[in-house]
Subunit: 151 residues, 2 copies
């Protein structure tokens, strides 16, 4: 629905490209409804296969994300070139348990990346993806530096 | 609530600093609840005094934002330095009318910035701010490159 192909300013990305782009970043934003607002909060993440794993502190996110629909967004915009992309996951979040954690550490070791673990202050969430979508942002949509968009 | 000062990984920014930071960027993200998810969508914006003016295309955002609580987020993270900031506005969005538009063009001319106008494809929204908050992201909160966060 959001990615209606009839909109000429929007290029829909295939799923594989969405995951490829997610793997190139480590800071995203989680969307959670809390206090009647769709809050947007930057979070650290990593991709474990096709699973987004988010590090956050206890508080708003953990409380609001429990048993609720959340989103996760990553984007990259080149202001000079007026181009970029964004990827949005719709899903649910669950806190990583001790059992999950051991499994995640193991899969991370296998990938050759130094494994991680949360410190005392940290909590880890896994996203259960319902849907992933992405798009390329084309100049017509972000015209701040385009004189044709000005009076 | 979100900005509880008791959290040692979070430095709350004063309101004036939030607006100063917003003025340094032109790409943000609007949060709207649609289809039971808190959708996050990158948008072009500019600051008109302390009012955020957002350019978007017709569709999900306009439809979902009408008469509903929305949020607007801008952030900047230096991955190498593990530092950054984020600003979040809670508010409502209203579409810029013809009357508003003339006023905005006038205020933009006065500011010395080249005035803008939406093309046929564009719609402009003004945010009515209920609350603005910001924080500095400190290394403990985004530890992806911090070896102390790893096993």
């Amino acid at each position: 629905m959001t990615n209606g192909g009839s909109d000429p300013t929007m290029n829909v990305l295939p799923t594989e490209e969405c995951y490829r782009l997610l793997a190139t970043h480590e800071i995203g934003r989680i969307g959670v409804v809390a206090d009647h607002y769709p809050l947007i909060l930057p979070v650290n993440y990593r991709l474990d296969g096709t699973t987004v794993v988010i590090r956050t502190h206890a508080g708003t996110i953990l409380h609001a994300a429990e048993h609720a629909n959340v989103t996760f967004e990553v984007d990259e915009v080149d202001r000079a070139a007026r181009s970029g992309w964004s990827v949005l996951i719709r899903g649910q979040a669950e806190e990583v348990t001790e059992a999950h954690r051991a499994e995640l550490v193991a899969s991370t070791e296998e990938s050759g990346v130094q494994p991680w673990a949360p410190g005392d202050k940290g909590h880890w969430l896994r996203l259960i993806t319902h849907e992933i979508s992405g798009r390329r942002i084309v100049p017509g949509e972000l015209p701040a530096l385009d004189p044709r968009a000005y009076l």
